[in-house]
Symmetry: C2
Subunit: 253 residues, 2 copies
């Protein structure tokens, strides 16, 4: 049984805790959180500490805190030569304090406390300083996910940037869609089947095959009519930017 400690109490930490609680070959022995109350709905309070000096010995320490705190948190772990990983898409492995063996355990998903996820289907990108540590990381990752990958630092950064486009920016476009609906006394529910189908399409078609709409057809009449309809300068700017990008992309094909 591999003994794991999670450090952190945020979205990623909480979803990892839930996943490890269901896993068979991994034992979550302790969680460190600045504020124990944030986790008492998930764990016995005996398993939670807010004090680094009370950290127990484990096979793996997973630091799931915000990127800026990784370096400091890793330096406070009161052990040496332990396997310590962070869960960040955009932080270099070298930010982990060098007294311990370094690695990365990056689950590629968007986590909100209010919504459960099926960890089994979440890709986990692993990286380790030492090849033998990779074997431990892989066992832990495979205990909670069927989609585990060895990914180097440059690729991980690429994945993180790509994730910002397909997740964070996409969600912002949903928000603009909601705003346009609200301004016209329409329920955002009207757009939800379209949003699901748009995401579902690219599970089987390439995004290029799936592309539809006035920009794809270079339909300047509809594009101009939409630009006349929009009043918000920011919405107009985004509409123009993405329409131009779709049209230019079509010319390249």
């Amino acid at each position: 049984m591999i003994k794991v400690v999670v450090i952190g109490a945020g979205n990623v930490a909480q979803h990892l805790i839930l996943a490890f609680q269901k896993a068979k070959e991994v034992q979550l022995i302790q969680v460190l959180a600045r504020n124990k109350n944030e986790l008492t709905h998930l764990l016995d309070s005996d398993c939670i500490t807010s004090n680094f000096s009370q950290l127990e010995e484990a096979d793996l320490y997973i630091i799931a805190v915000n990127d800026k705190a990784i370096q400091d948190v890793s330096s406070q772990i009161p052990f040496e030569n332990k396997l310590v990983v962070h869960t960040s898409g955009s932080t270099d492995m070298s930010m982990i304090h060098s007294k311990n063996r370094k690695g990365v355990f990056y689950p590629l998903q968007t986590f909100s406390k209010a919504k459960q996820v099926d960890f089994n289907t979440i890709p986990i990108a692993l990286e380790s300083e030492n090849p033998t540590d990779y074997i431990i990381l892989e066992k832990v990752a495979k205990a909670i996910s069927n989609d585990v990958h060895q990914i180097n630092s440059v690729q991980r950064k690429a994945l993180h940037v790509a994730a910002v486009f397909v997740c964070n920016f996409t969600n912002h476009l949903y928000q603009i869609g909601e705003t346009i609906c609200e301004e016209n006394q329409l329920s955002f529910d009207l757009l939800k089947p379209l949003i699901i189908e748009t995401a579902d399409k690219i599970q089987t078609l390439s995004p290029n095959e799936a592309q539809t709409g006035p920009a794809k057809r270079n339909d300047t009449t509809t594009i101009n009519s939409h630009l006349n309809f929009l009043k918000d300068e920011n919405q107009i700017n985004i509409y123009k930017t993405l329409t131009k990008s779709i049209i230019d992309n079509g010319k390249k094909l």
Copy 2:
């Protein structure tokens, strides 16, 4: 039994044909297509004509052709005082020739020939010149969908603009994600669970509640690191535009 004729052979026409074939209270009696061969995989060739003079009498003519052709096609229907609708999100009802009774039958979905959809869950936005015609349109729409709405022309245009943001632009962001993956020897499959979860999240959370990422946190370190990573000027421009929009939106809340 309401008799319906569909005019067109594109994505929307083909999905409507499939939906009407399963409907109980609607009889699809004929389809008009310039090229009959495009539809012979869906229909007996007896039911297809490419000649307006052979159009049969029906209770409803649904023009599902590209926006620019609606006016011309509607003028070629060799009947008067029939109910004629188009399926366009962005075309005024008045573009239908005035010799017939006008309406709109707009299914809010992204259709590709290569992918089946469940029409039952697709919102259909209806509009009619005459209140009595609305009753016919509603019966036909409810025969294929559980999500039927009366929506005026301004609202329909708003829906269409919103759909461009949440569908066409979103799909383009997926394409950028795919490009970044390919450039770094990563499979686009890695992003697919994230894409599904991002769409799934806003079925129960508002887009504002669902927003995550460096722009939401105003995490300039990560944002600058991503901008340094990107080399394509267009990708950089889109990254900056959407990041600024998310940050500005956060300031308004």
